[in-house]
Amino acid sequence: MMVSSSKYKFGLLWSVGFVAFALVPVLVTSRYQMNLASHILIWGLFAVAFNMLWGVTGMLSFGQALYFGIGAYSIGLFVHHAGKAWYLPAIPIGLVFAAVLSFLLGLLVIRVSGVYFTMLTLAFAQLAWQVTFKWYDFTGGDDGIQGIIAPGILANKMVYYYFVLVVVFLSVWFLKRLAYSPFGLILRCVQQNPNRVRFIGRSVKMNQLRIYVISSVFAALAGSLMVGVDNSIHTDMFFWTTSGEVILMSVLGGLNQFFGPFIGAVILILLEDIIGAKTEFWPLFLGTIIMIFVILFPKGVVGEIQHLRHRSKSAGESGGRHETHASA
């Protein structure tokens, strides 16, 4: 009974969310807001994919920007060196490359855990950044590459927006199914009690490797989507601050809620844009807001909302159970 009602509510939330985003180009007054919505969708995907590693499996990677950059640069480099026709084929090529690289690097990074894992992922991403930066003749270095326009009908911004919308929604839906599948359950167990996982005959390492590859491939997908929005790529995409942004979004929105990172992306991007437009002292304002968030919302925004809903529900029932996992 609870399951089906939550499934119903869940389906409703999905449709509402989809429709809301779908209506953006129609309702908004300027192309800028559509552009903003594209950024939110793409970063939302990136953050949700990242959180599969962290919130779900407990692996804090500070290097997902590596794959984000690969997704973007495969399109950029192909178009720049081989021609416009390569835009669309470059996307699956980039994803395959990300999958292979994340598999190989994954084998190395899962050998260590905790803070060492974090440092190692950071180091690999920085290495990639440094190489891309230095290899000026091939990648354009910190000039980046501009003028990368999606072919055919996708060159139209509104059409591209719907393209992004569909891809992001399908990807998030897929990740959500994954998170609530038996595989997802194992991942949560890996985070909470790796030994028990071994006792029941499952491999901790294999599962960590699997989710690392999956998360990275979706990060690359997000990167490749970004190219069509900005029509340019830059080495910043590999830099550790990009990895840091998805971490911030996840914490802001709530690590333990599936949609937390997505909401975190919405909040952070909107805050940055609005505050940046109003004052040159945006760091002071943004920093203060972050501090307030951290102190007042220990479960992240979505987590706090869930918590309140549970409390108001269990105020009606006696001895309500507190869940820390999302039910929607």
Binding site: L120, L122, Q130, S250, G287
Partner: protein, 295 residues
């Protein structure tokens, strides 16, 4: 192979290393002992440099007094930040994530505060009198200020190691990294310990900033340049190992010094390569006594 040049590079690598170590030492302390990842460590380095500027260049205070004062100032700011903000997230699930978010907020606030108070122009501190020249050793010229830095670095590493390893206070501090609850139930005022440790770590970072300032420019955003390098040193040395950090810094400094001389095109890649190799093969640090148990 020019012998003189090799010696020169050895010494220049050593100087770089000491400065690197001093900057990283605060991070080692806070991370290894407090188990807090202080992302904002670079900001305290920057605050120390600005305090140093204010004391030496504006108020004309004696350099060495200003050095200690700048460190103390940064330490006070750090202790206040810990007391007011970091304390509230101890014991939370996913504390690491909140540390990152909180310290990022601190970075933003500190950067803008510094800009508000001192403006965006580049500032500078002159070297202390008596240390502006250089000493000639045969064909090699070594600035005397470098000796001061190396001496201070040595004092710090010995003092830190001795306090942490040999005194009761040090043992308590180290225990707080291992098990806060247990320590609390033994009657130790754990929050106070953490505040003191954080304050000392930021004081070290601030002092390093003021010490390095005569060699660099004092500017907003100065913190970003040191955080990654400090991280690499901490990794090389093992998270809470002061001698390890010092040796790690020396390794990094020398590798860089010789890479610059003989393989200039690749020198910037070396730091990251060393970090990657260390983390893959000896994540507990190159100089740690015990090997890490693989989970």
């Amino acid at each position: 192979m020019d012998f003189n040049f090799i010696v020169t590079q050895l010494i220049s690598g050593f100087t770089m290393a000491t400065l690197l170590f001093l900057v990283a030492s605060g991070l080692t302390l806070i991370f290894g002992v407090g188990n807090i990842f202080n992302f904002a460590h670079g900001s305290f380095y920057m605050i120390g440099a600005y305090f140093g500027y204010q004391l030496v260049s504006v108020w004309k205070v004696n350099f060495w007094i200003a050095l200690v004062a700048a460190g103390a100032g940064a330490g006070l700011v750090g202790a206040a930040a810990e007391f007011l903000f970091l304390r509230r997230i101890y014991g939370r699930a996913q504390e690491g994530g909140f540390q990152i978010l909180l310290t990022y907020g601190l970075i933003l606030i500190f950067d803008d505060s510094v800009k508000l108070i001192w403006g965006t122009e580049y500032k500078s501190i002159a070297k202390p009198s008596g240390f502006t020249g250089a000493v000639q050793l045969g064909d090699i010229l070594i600035p005397t200020y470098n000796f001061a830095i190396i001496a201070i670095g040595f004092v710090v590493v010995v003092a830190a190691w001795w306090i942490l390893a040999k005194t009761r206070a040090g043992r308590i501090a180290r225990a707080s990294a291992v098990d806060r609850e247990m320590l609390g139930s033994l009657g130790v005022n754990v929050p106070l310990v953490l505040t003191v440790v954080f304050g000392l770590a930021t004081a070290l970072g601030g002092m390093a900033g003021a010490l390095a300032a005569p060699l660099r420019s004092v500017t907003p955003g100065a913190g970003i340049e040191v955080i990654i390098d400090s991280l690499i040193v901490v990794v090389l040395g093992g998270m809470s190992n002061f001698w390890g950090a010092w040796l790690g810094a020396v390794l990094l400094g020398e590798v860089n010094a010789f890479a610059v001389a003989y393989l200039p095109a690749w020198s910037t890649l070396f730091s990251y390569l060393v970090m990657v190799v260390t983390l893959i093969f000896r994540p507990e640090g190159l100089f740690a006594a015990t090997r890490l148990r693989k989970v």
